[in-house]
């Protein structure tokens, strides 16, 4: 199923100093800056890990099966997102909407898992005020969850607006979906990093702890 010359909107010559579409360029610049944002939060978590004076500690509360499932959900949402873009670039608005909604639903499922996880942690006595682990963990994953939430609203708004103004997801305007997709995939790659650095590479339990 070749996507007929699916170069997307950005492939057209733009009347800009770079010849590139500035909305897309701006999104990449934003994502580069967001790398620094999450880099700082991840660094803060890593610096503070293993330094909590009181529990609960990561190995006592983390559920690897649950977070693995969440990681899988976000990876699949990246697939549905890119399929949505491909459909829109082919001029298939109906499937574009279907894949966009699927992406948003997978995002909501991820957020529900995160809400469940946070609730479990609270029941086990871990809140942002409990210890260094709690403070840095909830800040990092909370900001990631906020990004996912924004992405869900963004994708849903594209679908809703396209129902009233179909040209907004026409092949000519596929950049609207492409830019939202870049943001969504970024949220996915941040989780790839968090899943490994926070969940899988846990510090050894404290001595005597």
């Amino acid at each position: 199923m070749q996507q007929a010359g699916a170069l997307g909107h950005s492939a057209e010559a733009e009347h800009t100093s770079t010849g590139l579409n500035h909305r897309k360029l701006l999104m990449w610049a934003f994502l580069a800056s967001d790398c620094l944002f999450f880099g700082s939060l991840i660094a803060t978590y890593l610096v503070n890990r293993g330094r909590s004076l009181v529990g609960p500690y990561p190995h006592e509360v983390f559920s690897i099966p649950l977070t693995s499932y969440s990681a899988f959900l976000l990876l699949m949402s990246s697939l549905t997102m890119v399929l949505a873009l491909a459909a829109v670039q082919r001029g298939n608005a109906k499937w574009g909407r279907v894949w966009l909604l699927a992406t948003a639903l997978l995002g909501i499922h991820f957020l529900a898992n995160q809400g469940y996880e946070f609730n479990q942690f609270a029941h086990e006595g871990l809140t942002p005020r409990t210890n260094l682990f709690g403070a840095s963990f909830f800040t990092l994953t909370g900001f990631h969850g906020a990004h996912v939430t924004l992405g869900v609203f963004w994708l849903t708004s594209i679908v809703v607006i396209s129902l009233f103004r179909p040209h907004t997801i026409s092949p000519k305007n596929s950049l609207n979906v492409e830019i939202a997709g870049l943001y969504w995939h970024f949220v996915d790659i941040v989780w790839i990093a968090i899943f490994t650095l926070v969940y899988l590479l846990q510090p050894a339990p404290p001595v005597g702890g």
């Binding site: 199923m1 996507q3 010359g5 699916a6 170069l7 997307g8 950005s10 492939a11 057209e12 010559a13 733009e14 009347h15 800009t16 100093s17 770079t18 010849g19 590139l20 897309k24 360029l25 990449w28 610049a29 994502l31 580069a32 790398c35 620094l36 999450f38 880099g39 700082s40 991840i42 660094a43 803060t44 890593l46 610096v47 890990r49 690897i64 693995s68 990681a71 899988f72 990876l75 699949m76 990246s78 697939l79 997102m81 890119v82 399929l83 491909a86 670039q89 997709g181 870049l182 995939h185 996915d188 790659i189 790839i192 990093a193 899943f195 490994t196 650095l197 899988l200 590479l201 510090p203």
Partner: protein, 101 residues
């Protein structure tokens, strides 16, 4: 001021390629979780997981975000920010001696 077309862009992959990439991503995630539970691999846990994570990261960026097919300026912009972020992480870990704990 010249207005150059984006001559460096290439057609995006097909849906089958996207599905193949998703399959690889799933397999790598399963491998990551398996490695986490295999006690014998504990000594090599850090390099193995970092390698697998970097593989997933690169696959998403190259194929789903289309950096492999888009103009090089997009790659330069993003990779520049990414290296800065990695630099910040390593610098902070070194500053607080977290690398040797």
């Amino acid at each position: 001021m010249s207005h150059r077309p984006e001559a460096h862009e290439r057609p995006h992959p097909t849906a089958m390629t996207y599905i193949a990439v998703a399959s690889v991503l799933t397999v790598v995630t399963v491998l990551e979780v398996a490695i986490y539970y295999i006690e014998a691999l504990r000594p090599a846990l850090v390099p193995l997981l970092l390698l697998l994570s970097a593989t997933k990261f690169a696959l998403v960026v190259m194929f789903y975000m289309h950096l492999k097919f888009d103009h090089k300026l997009f790659s330069a912009l993003f990779v520049g920010g990414l290296w800065l972020a990695i630099g910040v992480i390593v610098a902070l870990l070194a500053l607080f001696q977290a690398l040797i704990r």
